[in-house]
């Protein structure tokens, strides 16, 4: 167990240590784990070589902005599916779950054409649009909403708390763990996404960190400058790794659920 964990941790430790090394350290033929001299210049250089300010803002706006929109779409749909009777409900729910069976990669070409037709190429909106409807989120919250007892709803109705009021004041606060789980999975996914943003973006105006990093690595400046590249990588993944360190248990239990349904 211990050797396995060391083996899995080693690459990230190596990444971190490399980011603090000087060039001479990196290009020695016998690799040393610890830097002979700890330097911070890689980080300052990386920060100047990549438009990190813009990349950070874009990534934040895409992942958290999308989450805010999903919060609305998912809550409303889950509310209807969990607590209302209406003709066609089960059929419509199946149609929604169908999304889990369709790989986003197989719809990249038509979605690119749609985004292009809407004049949204190279915008943050374009990156988020295909994910506004979330079958996984709706499913997760529907499960949570269903566990709220009928009596509570009736009691709330007596106090005039019905409809959207009931959703906002009762269902949402009572389902906080499910929201957190969905939020973690969604933010991680969109913080890390690479392929779709790569296709629909062209400039740092809309690019997220992952694409900025990938494009930098393929330039002459970024290629083989390992200390610089590792520092840039560390800057790009810093927040998500910190979030993981703080919420390890929650992350693991959230991703457990992500597998059971898509």
């Amino acid at each position: 167990m211990v050797p396995a964990c060391v083996l899995f941790l080693a690459p990230f430790v190596w990444l971190t240590l490399t980011a603090f090394k000087s060039r001479q350290d990196v290009f020695s033929l016998t690799p040393r784990w610890l830097p002979t001299k700890w330097v911070l210049t890689n980080f300052t250089e990386a920060w100047q070589a990549l438009p990190f300010g813009a990349l950070y803002i874009n990534t934040f706006l895409i992942s958290f902005g999308l989450l805010a929109v999903q919060f609305v779409t998912v809550s409303l749909a889950a509310y209807a599916f969990a607590r209302m009777e209406f003709p066609g409900r089960d059929f419509l729910f199946m149609v929604l779950l169908g999304q889990l069976m369709i790989a986003p990669q197989s719809t990249v070409v038509p979605n690119y054409l749609t985004v292009s037709r809407l004049g949204l190429l190279d915008t943050r909106t374009a990156i988020a649009l295909p994910y506004v409807a979330s079958a996984f989120g709706t499913f997760l919250l529907r499960q949570a909403f269903k566990t709220v007892p009928r009596e509570l709803e009736e009691a709330a109705a007596v106090d005039g708390c019905t409809g959207l009021n009931f959703l906002w004041r009762m269902l949402v606060p009572l389902s906080r763990p499910s929201y957190l789980a969905f939020g973690l999975v969604s933010v991680t996914y969109h913080w890390n996404e690479f392929f779709w943003p790569l296709i629909v973006t062209d400039t740092a105006r809309s690019r997220p960190l992952t694409v900025g990093l990938g494009v930098f690595a393929q330039t002459a400046e970024g290629g083989a400058e390992w200390t610089l590249l590792m520092a840039a990588t560390l800057i790009a993944v810093g927040p998500i790794i910190l979030l993981f360190l703080v919420l390890q248990r929650k992350f693991i239990s959230s991703f457990m659920m992500s597998g059971l349904k898509g």
Binding site: M1, C5, F8, L9, P11, F12, W14, V26, S28, L29, T30, P31, T73, L76, A77, A80, M84, F86, R89, L96, G98, Q99, L100, M101, I102, A103, Q105, S106, T107, V109, P110, N111, L113, T114, A133, A135, T138, A157, V158, G160, T162, T188, N192, F194, I199, V211, L213, G214, A217, Q218, W226, M230, A236, I241, F244, R249, F251, F255, G259, L260
Partner: protein, 321 residues
């Protein structure tokens, strides 16, 4: 129904009959009755607009476009029937790409799911620092594949890379991991295993925790060794979950693109070109949208078939009578 409860509740205080006409409802500040019937549809409307616009219409459009020749040289798409598919099936590169996908799947999945199962069983016991072990194995899941690719490019660099250094100590020659067609796929396989083992472990852990504990108690009383317990209880009972995770892993492997783009660009000599990267090249390098749509449709059908299979298994999760 809740609306009516609220009606009845309010009606007496307003000295109105419980079932009042539209005017009375408006005076009470209640929405008209037709709204009640429409309400659920309004709630699911935002989700369905986007679901249809960005999931279902694209599928149909993809199939439709795959029946046309459509690229930059043509003013408008020309209907060509199944020509794009015929072209794909006669194109050696298409088969090479599929073979690469299969090779990647066969090399990555048994290892990552097998290790995932092994670790899941180990960390499921009440041992000290179990949480620490879980996190140490799981954290690559949280890292972007883009970062993982950078990291492993550096680990696998010939001459200075850590991997070659340790292999060299074992007597191996310096390997050009991403530059040599014989090894490039293995570079991607290593990254795939490192990145996904922890995720599969966590999914299998969920399955393990759902197993009835009384069976293990009984087995312990009967004096079954941990080895016997694993093969006679855990493995058979967990097999639907294991199968589900395996199918998910196959689907996952067919969607690989980030590491292909960042580590090898499908090369050298297409040795690591896989389905999604091939679609990317055809669509966004050669701008041949008709052929790219045909490839997307093939990918869609393959993945759909696999997913339906996975859901079937999850549905019939009753594993013992």
């Amino acid at each position: 129904m809740t609306q009516e409860l609220a009606d009845m509740q309010r009606a007496p205080s307003n000295r109105m009959p419980a079932r009042s006409g539209p005017q009375a409802r408006r005076r009470q500040g209640l929405p008209p009755r037709w709204f009640g019937a429409l309400r659920p549809y309004l709630y699911i409307l935002p989700t369905f607009v986007f679901l249809i616009a960005f999931t279902y219409v694209p599928i149909v459009r993809s199939v439709w476009m795959s029946l046309h020749e459509s690229h930059v040289a043509l003013a408008r798409p020309v209907f060509v029937g199944l020509d794009n598919y015929r072209y794909a099936f006669s194109e050696p590169l298409f088969w090479k790409v599929l073979r690469n996908n299969l090779l990647y799947a066969v090399a990555t999945i048994p290892t990552s799911v097998g290790l995932g199962l092994f670790f899941a069983v180990l960390v499921n016991r009440p041992i000290r620092a179990a949480g620490l072990y879980r996190s140490a194995l799981f954290y690559p899941t949280v890292l972007p594949m883009a970062a993982a690719s950078m990291l492993w490019l550096w680990m696998l660099t010939p001459g200075y890379g850590l991997v070659n250094h340790y292999l060299g100590r074992l007597g191996f020659p310096d390997i050009e991991w991403t530059g040599d067609p014989r090894y490039a796929m293995w570079a991607l396989v290593i990254v795939g295993i490192w990145k996904y083992t922890g995720y599969y472990m966590v999914l299998l852990l969920a399955g393990l925790q759902a197993l009835p504990s009384d069976l293990y108690e009984a087995a312990a009383i009967e004096g079954a060794s941990p080895w016997q317990q694993f093969w006679k209880i855990t493995f058979p009972l967990l097999s639907p979950t294991t199968f589900f995770v395996t199918v998910m892993a196959i689907i996952n492997s067919f969607q690989s693109i980030d590491q292909v783009y960042l580590m090898t660009r499908g090369g050298p000599a297409n040795a690591t070109n896989m389905m999604v990267y091939y679609i990317y090249q055809v669509a966004f390098r050669f701008w041949d949208m008709g052929y790219a749509s045909a490839l997307s449709t093939v990918l869609f059908v393959v993945l759909l078939a696999l997913t339906v299979l996975a859901f079937r298994v999850m549905h019939h999760r009753v594993h013992y009578a």
